[in-house]
Amino acid sequence: MKNMSFSRKSLGIPYLLFLSLFVVAPLLVLFYYGFTNGSGRFTFENLTDFFTNPNTLGTLCYSLALALVTTLVCLLLAYPTAYILATSKLKRRSVVIMLFVMPMWINFSLRITALKEVLTWIEGNLAYYPFLNSVIGMTYDFLPFMILPIFNTITRLDPALLEAARDLGADEKEAFLKVTLPLSMPGVISGVSMVFLPAMTNYVVLDMLYNSTYIMGSLIGSYFSAYNWHGGSMISLILLVMICLFTLFTKTEEENPRGGALL
């Protein structure tokens, strides 16, 4: 009997090896490259360079601002949409939400191409409004990831809670503010984490819109093109620290929308 249970456990060994070799080891190598220089000697230079160079610090501030505004715009568009759809009396709600999630499955580069052509037609030269176009591009790319988790949490709310609120004398507005809104926060947080981090790092959206401005992800790209593995590793480490902090603050039981998208 002991032997048999061992054989089931051992099925996990290949994946355990895979995770250690290609998920954990790459991160350790990042530490090595981030804290050494070209001749392999230990140094803090890459770290101090980042925090003393006005260009890299400017990039950090710009990406934080861009991510913040993009997240807010996504939230302002996604929350009402998700709320209206989740509380509607439509018979086939799941089909309707599918329509709002479907763009996730169309290759992002082709969707951004479409957006770029339309924006160029409207604005002429996209370089005139770099910040605005960055926000539009990122919102266009990430909006479905915000709508889905909010929709899911609101549909799962127990309708008895709202009835109770009404019985106790709350009007529709009060019931929303005191029951629905606080209880839908896990979905909001999950959506925010799906938008905020990519908005700091997904520089290809800006690249495609002919944007000359830089975000944190672009720094890795430019170090990569310059074969500067040490600088690139340090930026990756800084991003990792930010991602860890962000994840600690936004930890919820809500499933990852990237995975939940398949319904």
Partner: protein
Amino acid sequence: MRKKNNAWKILIVSFVFLFLYLPILILAFYSFTTSANIGTVQGFSLDNYRTLFTSPELVQMIVGTLVLAFTAATLSTILGTLGAIGSFYSKKNLSRLMSTTNQIPVINADVVTGFSICILLVVALGVSKDTYIPLVIGHVVLGAPFVYLSVLPKLMQMDGSIYEAALDLGATPFTALRKVVLPQILSGVLSGFALSVTLSLDDYFVAVYTKPATFDTISTYVVNATKGSQTTIKTALWALSTVIFFVVVLVVLGMNLRTAKEEGKGAEV
């Protein structure tokens, strides 16, 4: 009062809907014309579709992307499923360790994932990108964690006593696993596979840091093409966008019909 409220609701929902779909639909319309820019309507033409399906460069790129996606998804599904089964039957600490490590690629920014794999395999270990090994491994790192995440809940819902019963009735552990456990987790395995395919198809960052210089996925190709000035290629990609849009619509419709049928069956019972 109620009517006004409803009008607002419809307005908001349709605004978001149009924001998401209008660019794709406008591009789809212009993909059937000879114009090179949106806004100037010229004659109707299927030239873009002809270029898309006859230009060797474009055909190779599309086939290459699909082969990569299905290879990576197959490997992801095998590794992730075995990993989930192993983790489910392991001691609590080991299983928690696996699940935590599994979360790293899920949460991490794709730029960092791609760059770190490139640094380890290409820079530190000297594996050539031309072997496709870094690229395939990179895409398995993207997909396998999601397979693990979609299989594990199915194992938890599974009735464990059937496996024990199979053993009592003389089945070997392997047969019991194949005939009892696998059917019960199959839906999770399949949705994990589908998810891995879509993640690989949509990836840009892992591919760009790990792919051979001569190989392009749809994403890396399109990104380069939008920076270039080749008009025929640019408009042929509008056709590609339209084709993919229709494929996705068909798949979604098919999935909905299937679930609707299943729901119908459930209602009869």
